[in-house]
């Protein structure tokens, strides 16, 4: 076992993590721990763009951007955070450009912008060109640019280190904090994949930037490594997760595969058609049609398929039609995604429409933070020295449905803020002594897992989890389907207790890591479903067929999911009688729900029409 001491430790080297590192590493001793080489992070897969009201090509301003974000999130957005994000977007883009990001350019040599779903001029009048982009590789360029600047600043990386535990002064999953006491995060425990060695990192400030959890679903645009590690680690320490029921399904995944075709395809003029060749989005969103927010488009597509207007032998997908676009235009603006269609489906997008179907894409929920990226341990208190940014966090700027291009923005704006506040805090704070047994739990877990005799295969349990999530907690949900998912997850949690790994070695044991990741997935799926069962309304990405309407009277609140000991009271901070009071008992713990109010500044909830 090795121990390290850093002022700031950043977990995750995706966009959010590296943006934070650039802020912090110049100020204090900083380490970035990542289970992947930084440039392998899934930020690199993002395609379409990053929006900011630069107004380089047409009139635009950050207020409109705020409004679109709020409306897109079906009013569950914390509007103070959305305002900050929209305002700081402009600098975030300019920062990146100055760091060297090769944006596409206008004829005048400025950063070019294009249309994207849900982004409008003057509060919904028409689509506006707000997304700054580099072909359909914007995320790739952001990730590369940030990494390049980390190289420039000599940021210290621990690559292929898996963080497996968070060390805190209190374990809230075991009991409450006494009044007046502060909860501090003091370090993390990491596993060096290459050697199998355990490393304990002591830190004054820790930033979680571990990305999403798309692998709880089967059909997803997310990487194999997006297993919700950061969220699960926080949850296991008794910290809440916010709005987990809201998961975004991106309308245009390659049918059957889930590989994403960016919304930019529609931003550049692509059209969705059903088996009758009809441009069906005209019926669902007459004003902005194919560029409606993702939840609406995904639902419309699923509905077309359900009503028998799907295409293909099984009538189970719709078509994304680019054939009316100039091949040269496609090559210039959408080179990668058309290549995906060719490589993976053997379809030539110049001449044939591409089969698409919604794919699990983005977790709107996550570790709750305030606008300074400080992690909350209930609806008002922060955890000292713990920060989160990026997809792992819930600020909440996306509410119940994220607008396209707002996540690359989120990781830059709040990544920067996290780095800044963490460094500032680390300058004033001192190290907290780590308990001598800080790593014991992790070591025991690893040994136990490694030495377990024959049991279930990790892959079987994972597959069944993903299948039940796809079948029961996807675009359309009902109380019944969700309860089915929950009971499946319960059974799988039980089986997980004796899954066994075949690789018993120490070196590069990915078999073992997959087993641990499965544990994270199960925990995340569990709270996602519990929160979804509890929210008896439809809003944004969460659509309940048994409650098809939005219910602002009862549910204009963020869900907070806590893991508590079985003996703890059934109520959590912010419990609302009759609504957010669901409790699920599991073996050894229970999941308790509370709420957090939604911050509204200038926009009153309205009906969401496009």
């Amino acid at each position: 076992m090795q121990t390290h001491q850093y002022d700031v430790v950043i977990v995750g080297a995706g966009g959010a993590g590296m943006r934070a590192a650039l802020e912090a590493s110049g100020e204090v001793r900083t380490a970035v721990i990542s289970k992947l080489y930084p440039t392998r992070s899934h930020t690199g897969a993002a395609q379409g763009g990053m929006c900011a009201a630069l107004a380089n090509v047409e009139e635009d301003n950050w207020e409109w951007h705020t409004f679109d974000t709020v409306k897109g999130g079906d009013y569950l957005v914390d509007q103070d955070a959305a305002e900050i994000m929209a305002k700081e977007a402009i600098d975030a883009v300019l920062d990146l450009e100055r760091m060297g990001l090769p944006f596409n350019r206008t004829p005048e040599g400025r950063i070019d912008q294009r249309r994207f779903g849900g982004h409008t001029r003057n509060h919904g009048e028409a689509a506006v060109r707000r997304s700054c982009y580099a072909a359909d590789r914007t995320g790739h360029m952001i990730l590369q640019t940030l990494y390049q600047n980390c190289v420039k600043q000599d940021v210290e990386f621990f690559n292929e280190f898996y963080v497996l535990d968070l060390i805190t002064t209190h374990d809230l999953s075991q009991g409450d904090v006494a009044d007046g006491e502060e909860v501090h995060a003091t370090g993390v425990v990491a596993y060096d994949l290459q050697t199998g060695e355990i490393h304990v990192f002591q830190a004054k400030a820790i930033i979680f930037a571990t990305g999403g959890a798309g692998k709880i679903f089967k059909t997803t645009s997310n990487a194999h490594t997006l297993t919700g590690d950061g969220m699960a680690l926080a949850l296991r320490r008794g910290f809440p997760l916010e709005d987990m029921e809201f998961f975004q399904f991106h309308p245009t995944g390659l049918a059957g595969l889930g590989i994403l075709l960016s919304e930019a395809a529609r931003g550049e003029g692509g059209i969705l058609r059903n088996s009758e060749g009809e441009r069906f989005m005209e019926r669902y969103a007459p004003t902005i049609k194919d560029l409606a927010p993702r939840d609406i488009v995904a639902r419309s597509m699923a509905n077309e398929v359900r009503e028998g207007r799907g295409c293909g032998p099984n009538k189970d997908y719709v078509l994304l039609d680019l054939t009316h676009l100039e091949p040269a235009h496609i090559d210039a603006k959408l080179p990668d995604i058309t290549e995906f269609a060719r490589t993976y489906l053997g379809i030539e997008p110049y001449t044939e429409p591409v089969p698409v179907y919604p794919t699990a894409h983005y977790a709107m929920g996550g570790i709750p933070t305030n606008v300074e990226a400080e992690v909350l341990r209930d609806s008002h208190n922060v955890v000292k020295g713990l920060y989160a940014a990026g997809e792992v966090a819930c600020v909440s700027v996306h509410g119940s449905n994220r607008l396209g291009t707002n996540s690359l923005l989120d990781i830059n704006v709040f990544g920067k803020r996290a780095g800044r506040t963490a460094a500032a805090y680390a300058k004033t704070a001192s190290f907290t002594e780590l308990p001598a047994d800080a790593a014991d739990r992790t070591v025991a877990q690893l040994d136990e897992m490694r030495n377990r005799p024959d049991g279930d295969r990790v892959s079987d349990v994972r597959r069944e989890l993903q299948e039940t999530m796809d079948a029961n907690a996807q675009v359309f949900r009902t109380g019944e389907s969700l309860n089915q998912a929950l009971s499946d997850i319960r059974a799988l949690q039980a089986r997980f207790k004796n899954v066994s790994v075949q690789d018993k070695g120490r070196l590069f044991n990915t078999d073992l890591l997959e087993a641990l990741e499965l544990g994270f997935l199960l925990d995340i799926a569990e709270v996602t479903v519990v929160a979804a069962i509890n929210r008896k309304e439809s809003r944004g990405g969460h659509y309940r067929e048994d409650f098809p309407d939005r219910d602002d009277t009862n549910y204009m609140l963020h869900t907070m999911t806590y893991r508590r000991p079985p003996s703890a009271p059934d109520t959590a901070d912010g419990t609302v009688e009759g609504y957010f009071d669901h409790v699920e008992e599991f073996e050894g713990y229970k999941v308790v729900l509370g709420s957090k109010s939604v911050t509204q500044t200038r926009y009153e909830p309205m009906e969401r029409k496009y």
Binding site: Y37, T39, R40, S41, H42, A45, V93, L94, E97, R98, G100, P102, F103, N104, R105, G109, I111, A135, H140, Q148, N149, V151, K152, Q194, A223, H224, T225, G256, I259, V305, G312, P313, N314, Y317, F340, T343, Y344, G346, I347, P355, R457, V458, S459, D470, A471, N472, V475, F476, R477, T478, S481, V501, Q502, D503, G505, L507, F508, N509, T510, D511
Partner: protein
Amino acid sequence: MTATLENPATEVGTVPSFEVTLRVRRYSPESEHGEESTWDEFTVTAHGTDRVLDALHKIKWEHDGSLTFRRSCAHGVCGSDAMRINGRNRLACKTLLKDVNPDKPITVEPIKGLPVIKDLVVDMEPFFASYREIMPFLITSGNEPSKERIQSAEQRERFDDTTKCILCAACTSSCPVFWTDGQYFGPAAIVNAHRFIFDSRDDGATQRLEILNDKEGVWRCRTTFNCTEACPRGIEITKAIQEVKRAMIRRAF
């Protein structure tokens, strides 16, 4: 109920499944074979749109959990899974089984020229060390503009090709010159230098050209084109290397 498909994996059209055999080169110092490499054969059932990565996953998940390889994005954008498939460097997640003649066993080996850690996993550190040496970041002089730097669409186009690199190392580890002693900077480092040398906003070209005007720099490239053929991003690597060489010559004469 939900509109989720009964069988969401249903492919476009009906694709028959077939049996495919993979011959994988194994190396695991902890195993009974010690420092010796061995070949293992596995036969799995695959479908029409399955990639080599899917087959490797099937092996790992259904046959031998100890088979070790890197992967993440599974669609050719993260650069994790460059390996030698039927003798050529490719990304496992971008190589359809049906395109590599599944009638015969498909050989899978780690990329060449970097130290093997386990099975298909190699130590990437030397590769990234070369990358870091060419100063892969924008170098500017003068004051930061308050808004963006101006760059015309043509100037942006000039280095577009080399911005696509995902640092997968397929090129460098396909280069016969790199195999010999591993001291050569390798095509990937040159590609990333090219990306900045030809960026109109950058002022560090001289330094980078100097770094690559080295015994182990661009002059070691013998234009074998293995790199260009291996690049999963379709970057014209040899062309980029030649452009860097010519830039150096222009500077020297």
